[in-house]
Symmetry: C2
Subunit: 294 residues, 2 copies
Amino acid sequence: MLNELGQTEQEFLDTYNPGKYEKPSVTVDVLIFAIHTVDNPDVRKLADKKLQVLLVKRGNHPYINNWAIPGGFVKMDEDLETAAFRELKEETSVDNIYLEQLYTWGDVNRDPRMRIISTSYMALINKKNCKIQAGLDIMDANWFDIEVKTIEEKETEYTDTSIVEKTVEILVKTNDIVAKAKIKETIKVVNRFSTSKLEILEQDNISFDHAKILYSGLMRMRNKIEYTDIAFSLLPNEFTLAELQQVYEVILGKTFTKPNFQRKIREKVLKTDKFERGAHRPARLYRFNKDWNK
Amino acid sequence: MLNELGQTEQEFLDTYNPGKYEKPSVTVDVLIFAIHTVDNPDVRKLADKKLQVLLVKRGNHPYINNWAIPGGFVKMDEDLETAAFRELKEETSVDNIYLEQLYTWGDVNRDPRMRIISTSYMALINKKNCKIQAGLDIMDANWFDIEVKTIEEKETEYTDTSIVEKTVEILVKTNDIVAKAKIKETIKVVNRFSTSKLEILEQDNISFDHAKILYSGLMRMRNKIEYTDIAFSLLPNEFTLAELQQVYEVILGKTFTKPNFQRKIREKVLKTDKFERGAHRPARLYRFNKDWNK
DNA sequence: ACAAAAGTGTTCCAAGTACACCCATGG
DNA sequence: CCATGGGTGTACTTGGAACACTTTTGT
């Protein structure tokens, strides 16, 4: 089969010039989430749990000394997902993890250096399996507690259109570092078509559009925890039902009553014969039932 | 604030060389779905509905004369989403549409010409609003009926691992063109971690990895129709409940009973005073209730 | 009249929600 | 003994699935 120039496929490929056009750079950014357990000095009280994200400090312009989602350029000889795994390993050296592609961010001016298109991934890890390693050109890496607050929610109704504008504040912090951003989410419904848009209104100590990436990762997590297994990726192989409940609560930002929660997740777990140690009244340990959706 | 070389941000940006590393090309591919109504000569019988996708014929190597998802390179001065809208408009010239980012495909050897990373989008359109336009380097564009058949589903169970391998055949066809592919989906669960992989086993008359893109678009559609509004994007502003039911059935590949379906979508629609015309027994027209989830 | 589709009601079951209660244990 | 959390049962409500039935209209 010949093309319009009378070339065979081999001839076409041999003369093809891939450098003809200017190209954007491509990076991967990996949101690494974990649950942090805050041990309580009073044994009778339950240990608290917090949702955390791993951020790295930028060592160069732009956003020098601000915090960013770990990531880097995709190499020419590695798949996109391989690049994400590589970035993840450079930070955490985990063996077995959950990694999911989230979204690709491609606005023209996301990065002041040049056109960069970035595919974001989300990793959920069990903190006991990982040690944070400082990367090469990274000055520092740290786990940040996450707080999301809705500041304002406004709805405007027209005949065939409705616009919902929601302003949220994302705050991430360690014991002595704070970074934050104010984000506006606009959901517009015109007739039967809905569109959604994210904007950064203001930000402090957070780099690029990373607050948007973090926010959309959190929202994806909230959605997926309801109908998938992802909660278990944040826990060790064996866990108590109270721990599992805490994970659901900290991600969804709401509370459940114990009997109802246990019925809700009944099919997703299997009893073991083991019990936790060192607690007030040791609770039974459970493990994930991989056949729950059959 | 100075970096390690003692540069200010402006100095850094002025001397920054974006061409240092080799870069992949970036494209967008837009899956354009629509519902086709097959009018029935017998007025007393209900018109049939089919799910269709718009494909274009490749005019050059590789995969010359095979069919492909419409798409093209992202320009340096346009956002990723803008590029997707541009591609969509080049094919359909629609005014108001649903467009959603699906997934970014970044395997090293997706394209024999060079390294291409492609972000796929999904558009759902109402066929009455669009005329197909042949693009510039496109020989032909056509609506294809879609059929998905599960060929085999095999499950292997180990102590801590289970592997589900599902083989499906995707067949797209017009009156005189057929293209098809066999795809294997592997879902592996190790302990509490699940991973999923798509492979093309064989394909005929379909270009690149586009069968994978089409398959994952179809699956996304099936998932989203259950908890979102997307079905309405495929219909005109006013529709009968039977039409809406047909859309659900054709996307999910299963049937509903009328009373149950109507209760299921009761909250999502609003009655109008109008009735359809020309039917055996004209049915009431409904429209989308944009406030259904309040 | 009858075929085909529009349109409505009733019953059953499963999953979620609210709430009430007893049991075990460290301080 | 009592605070704190572990563990269980019961009743109510909601949404889906199955099925039975009446009404309207072109041929």
